[in-house]
């Protein structure tokens, strides 16, 4: 019983601030405080009228899509190699790839910044993509790894044995069976990149991503309700994307007939 109460309080503590976001996004006042003064959609209407905001959203989308694609591609190669082949140094190499999961982001960010500046490369969206790919790849490897581990290697051999080439085998057998994992990896990488702040803040240059732009806006109190409105949209979008990702993961398991042994949601 006490455990149940504790669990409920814990969840309230975790998620209450997020519930406040939509509440104040629809509140008819520039001051973020109770009592609420009335309902308005003014803050949502203000979003498209802020060109800098739109630009930051575009930058973020480009960065998130690119990072997701790169991380998933790298994850696909890593996961397949890890599941199919034994090679010397497999464990250390895999551990090295998974390292960014536990490395403090601030360290990654500072280190990348120092290296990029030392190389004389200009900062911009592509340097953020670099950092985000590093960050997202371990997630992609984890998701795709489970897809490949549930995958009977004899399936590829059977296709090969029936006369198909390696590429056709990949297209006709491997890809359809790991596709749910790929979609799931893309969505999760996209979500991680979209709301990542620290690396983006350090590497972003003159074109800020959305989180970096929002952080800049917090200095102007009258802009805060607009930020709240945008935050609401982002939360809704994140929940949607994560749900879709999980749905694909489960469908993948059902398709290969494997038992559900994990997942993110």
């Amino acid at each position: 019983m006490t455990l149940r109460v504790y669990a409920i309080l814990y969840l309230v503590f975790l998620y209450a601030p997020i519930v406040l976001l939509p509440i104040f996004a629809f509140n008819d006042a520039t001051v973020i405080a109770f009592p609420l003064s009335g309902f308005t959609t003014e803050w949502f209407r203000a979003i498209p009228e802020t060109p800098a905001l739109i630009r930051s959203v575009q930058t973020s989308l480009v960065v998130a899509v690119s990072s997701a694609l790169l991380a998933t591609l790298l994850g696909l190669c890593t996961a397949r190699a890890g599941a199919r082949y034994a090679f010397p140094g497999k464990r250390p190499v895999t551990g090295f790839i998974m390292l960014p999961l536990v490395l403090p982001e601030i360290i990654v960010a500072v280190a990348l910044l120092v290296v990029l500046l030392a190389l004389g490369l200009p900062l911009g969206p592509w340097t953020v993509v670099l950092g985000h790919t590093l960050l997202c790849t371990p997630f992609a490897v984890a998701i795709l790894g489970s897809s490949f581990n549930n995958f009977d290697p004899a399936l590829e051999e059977a296709s090969y044995d029936l006369g198909e080439s390696r590429w056709a085998t990949f297209r006709l057998v491997t890809l359809p069976l790991v596709m749910p994992g790929i979609v799931s990896s893309l969505l999760i990488s996209f979500t991680i990149s979209l709301d990542e702040f620290i690396i983006a803040f350090f590497l972003t240059g003159t074109e800020p991503t959305l989180p970096v732009y929002l952080w800049g806006q917090l200095r102007f109190p009258q802009k805060i309700p607009v930020v709240m409105a945008l935050g609401t949209i982002l939360v809704a979008l994140s929940v949607l994307l994560l749900s879709v990702a999980e749905l694909f993961r489960r469908r993948g398991l059902a398709r290969t007939g494997a038992k559900d042994t994990g997942g993110f949601v």
Binding site: D152, A154, L155, E157, A158, S159, Y160, D161, L162, G163, E164, S165, L172, V173, P176, L177, R255, T256, G257
Partner: protein, 355 residues
């Protein structure tokens, strides 16, 4: 001409020497089995023939053509995998027709070929089902149909029945044999089940530690195994110490007998030998029963009841070695108990001599 011809085939996996010189000729239309315990190299040998593994040394000829550098997808072989490897995202018909994708056939011809292949394995009308919705035995049949639809010269079967329960396995053994006769394709079966190999095969290669220990038809393999190892792997055999001098062998506990050359499959030479005998070739006599066979005496040390048969372990007088005797449980036949005196009837021709 043999359809498969292996000579001096060796396979190394790093330090592990999986195949240690395999020479093998398999004739067209033969049902051939590779039999051995796990780790003996039988599956590796099958995968070498299929083209999934390169040979480290030696040559593999298929219909007289050297297979060096010919990948699995260009070889006239097809495989039924141990896990069946049914594509779970495709229907039964799509699975069976998978290998026809690039065949120069119309859509209708392909559908007809798929239906024919399904009919051959007793799954006519199952084409539209999802592969996931099939039972173990049905998946096995789909895997067979999928491999046979390409009319390979050789069908390779990697322990195809090991995942099935006993009843279904026995049924599939008979069906596979019938199927092989009707299509006339060479089947190469990998199995660790000696009974399965004996039931189904024209010839069997028994493998131990990367080598073929004996290659023979089932009767020869059972009656005249070349080594104690082969004899113990196939069926049951008791061994007694013996001594050969000229045409005669003296067997501890049994007595003297003359031996022919065919009873010494590993060759004969004077000296100490091990004498093997199968349980069903010995009989326990009922008290007072007469026999014109040779007779030995002992005592029952263990009795195991199998329903149709009873197995007795009998310690023979004058030796530490025991023999196992199997007796059919016929009506009116007395059952001996532990400790009962036993009279054992035997024949000189039943003995097999091992160096």
């Amino acid at each position: 001409m043999s359809i498969i011809s292996l000579s001096g085939v060796q396979k190394h996996f790093g330090d592990y020497h999986a195949l240690r010189g395999i020479d093998l000729e398999i004739a067209g239309g033969e049902f051939f089995s590779l039999l051995g315990p796990s780790g003996c190299g039988k599956t590796t040998l099958l995968r070498v023939i299929a083209g999934f593994e390169d040979v480290s040394e030696g040559t593999v000829l298929l219909s007289g053509r050297d297979m060096e550098g010919v990948p699995a997808n260009r070889r006239p072989t097809n495989m039924v995998f141990q896990s069946y490897a049914i594509f779970p995202h495709l229907s039964v018909a799509e699975n069976v027709g998978f290998g026809l994708r690039r065949a120069a056939m119309s859509r209708g011809e392909k559908a007809a070929a798929v239906e024919e292949a399904l009919g051959m394995v007793g799954l006519a009308g199952y084409g539209a089902r999802k592969a996931n919705a099939l039972s173990g035995g049905q998946r096995q049949r789909v895997a067979l149909a999928r491999a046979l639809i390409l009319k390979p010269k050789v069908l390779l079967l990697d322990e195809p029945l090991s995942a099935l329960d006993k009843k279904l396995r026995e049924q599939m053994q008979a069906e596979l044999r019938r199927l092989q006769r009707s299509v006339g394709i060479t089947f190469i079966l990998v199995t660790h089940d000696q009974e399965e190999a004996l039931i189904m095969s024209d010839r069997i290669a028994v493998m131990f530690e990367g080598r073929i220990a004996q290659l023979a038809d089932p009767q020869t393999l059972y009656r005249r195994p070349v080594s104690r190892q082969v004899a113990q792997f196939i069926g049951m055999m008791s061994f007694l110490p013996g001594r050969i001098a000229g045409a005669e062998v003296t067997v501890a506990g049994l007595g003297r007998a003359s031996v022919e050359d065919d009873q010494c499959p590993a060759g004969r030479a004077d000296g100490d030998v091990s004498v093997g005998i199968r349980p069903e070739l010995l009989s326990l006599l009922a008290p007072g029963e007469d026999t014109d066979r040779q007779l030995a005496h002992g005592a029952v040390t263990e009795r195991t009841y199998y329903g149709d048969m009873t197995y007795y372990d009998v310690a023979l007088d004058g030796t530490d070695a025991e023999v196992t005797i199997s007796m059919k449980n016929l009506p009116g036949r007395a059952v001996l108990e532990r400790g009962d005196a036993a009279r054992v009837a035997w024949d000189a021709r039943s003995l097999v001599i091992f160096p």
